[in-house]
Symmetry: C2
Subunit: 330 residues, 2 copies
Amino acid sequence: MAVYTEIDDEQLEALLARYDLGTLMSCKGIAEGVENSNYLLVTDRASYILTLYERRVNRDDLPYFLGLMDHLAAKGLPCPTPLHDREGKALNEIAGRPCAIVSFLSGVWPKRPTAKHCHELGIAMAKLHLAGQDFPLQRRNALSVDGWRPLLEACDGRADGVRPGLAGELRREFDALAAAWPETPGRAGSRPLPHGVIHADLFPDNVFFVGESLSGLIDFYFACNDYFAYDLAIALNAWCFEADGAFNVTKGRQLINGYESVRPLTDGEVHTLPLFARGAALRFLLTRLYDWLNQVPGALVKPKDPLEYWKKLTFHRQVLGASAYGIERP
Amino acid sequence: MAVYTEIDDEQLEALLARYDLGTLMSCKGIAEGVENSNYLLVTDRASYILTLYERRVNRDDLPYFLGLMDHLAAKGLPCPTPLHDREGKALNEIAGRPCAIVSFLSGVWPKRPTAKHCHELGIAMAKLHLAGQDFPLQRRNALSVDGWRPLLEACDGRADGVRPGLAGELRREFDALAAAWPETPGRAGSRPLPHGVIHADLFPDNVFFVGESLSGLIDFYFACNDYFAYDLAIALNAWCFEADGAFNVTKGRQLINGYESVRPLTDGEVHTLPLFARGAALRFLLTRLYDWLNQVPGALVKPKDPLEYWKKLTFHRQVLGASAYGIERP
């Protein structure tokens, strides 16, 4: 939760004058989002979210993210629609930060996801994967295998202070995953698994529901081109473990069934799912560990416990096949 | 800016079930308010603010604050109206905290107040003072002279670390103000200045405007019974100094003229205004100094600079009469 950058009246007025949004009735910083500053704007016509992109977002990636939201919203996906100013621009600037205004989505994110929520999520994720197939821009997944090595190296000397023996375990895990990971999707000569645009961060706080109906997918700032099944593996990690660390196979099954009701998984994807689940667990373990070891005094956001993902990784390592996640194949 | 207490789905559902507010469409923590946690609730009928009262608010004071908002809103003042549940209660509980749901007010607080804003504020403050006159509950001002002494004592040993000589200056200032301060309003036998319900914290972030029209007064959690002119003195401190520390007499004049267009000041009030302005400056200097010296590691709120109020106090100490604030009397 955070608002990193305060904006003043003149700055806001100057920005809004570029758009045709009606009269400003309210502007409140909202305590959501870890990477960026977000304001809820209410005008006499509608509600909007103003996002200021802070230093952790690469400015060069913004056309991909905003273009993707435009593309997906046009295909009927319930995601924020970037507003274009009178010159047609979706990307502007305020208080020295790149910024965008997007449509406001109704809904509340589920603090305790149910199996029904997981089923709805699976459906929406598969629709996202299909809707992204003709999106023309490309963005490499900066937090796939290649991106884990520098995080690992940055944490190496201090990981044992978080958990004795962790540094060695992480090195071995990384080596095993790097050796087994399928080739970069799209590389010439490879016969890769199905791939395309993935969200790559579909945690519960990025998915809105009204009652038990999914009403919105937000926060596309990790979206990239990668394997579809890797997106599913991230969601298995993020949605299907209970607070006590147990994997809830009913939730896994509902997530996958929802997904497959829109886009059935190939045999290759089913086979690779346990590997991807391990990889996804390592990815969030490493980024959380890095943030844990590099806490900024006075930071507005409390770092998340990296060891939650150590426990998840341990679960995935003992999995024998995709049936552990609720996939039934004859 | 802060959300101190997170609430989960079940807790929120259980709370909302007590009220008749329609279907929940959105719930976002908002990055406003220093003392409490605030959520913006949107239902299919309207928007509301859910406030969780954190430890700095005395639970015994909540009936005064909520009753006052009810009273003032009923008199047409643009302040939040507490919602009553089906049993008629405005005060409930969530996540172990006392809480209330109030109506949402449109408007944006002015980051750079203008003289027009000050004029509007003066009008609204005088209306508040008049509207509160038949409010039956009483609350002593815990941050008037009696309340300054413990703050002074708590800061005494370390104040010189913030500014050399500050501890002695504060002691002398306190003694001078305590000796000159008018008797407690309402005390038997006294002939006090006009008094009644005051807001006691009308800083710009507690006053909303749509364009230059005042649309809301919020945050009544310092409201109490005290001298009306002391409320005006707080606002002179909070609204009429420029960023460079200079007092803007045009803003002061507009604030007072706005006030007097609704409720003219008595000669006694005009005479006492410089004393009250010094007192108000000392009050905010002391609370800021205390928070500055008692920073909690990992706190979500950055403490405000106490020396801003040292500079204001220095200004008020050299003032010769109320004309310095823009009051013209024949």
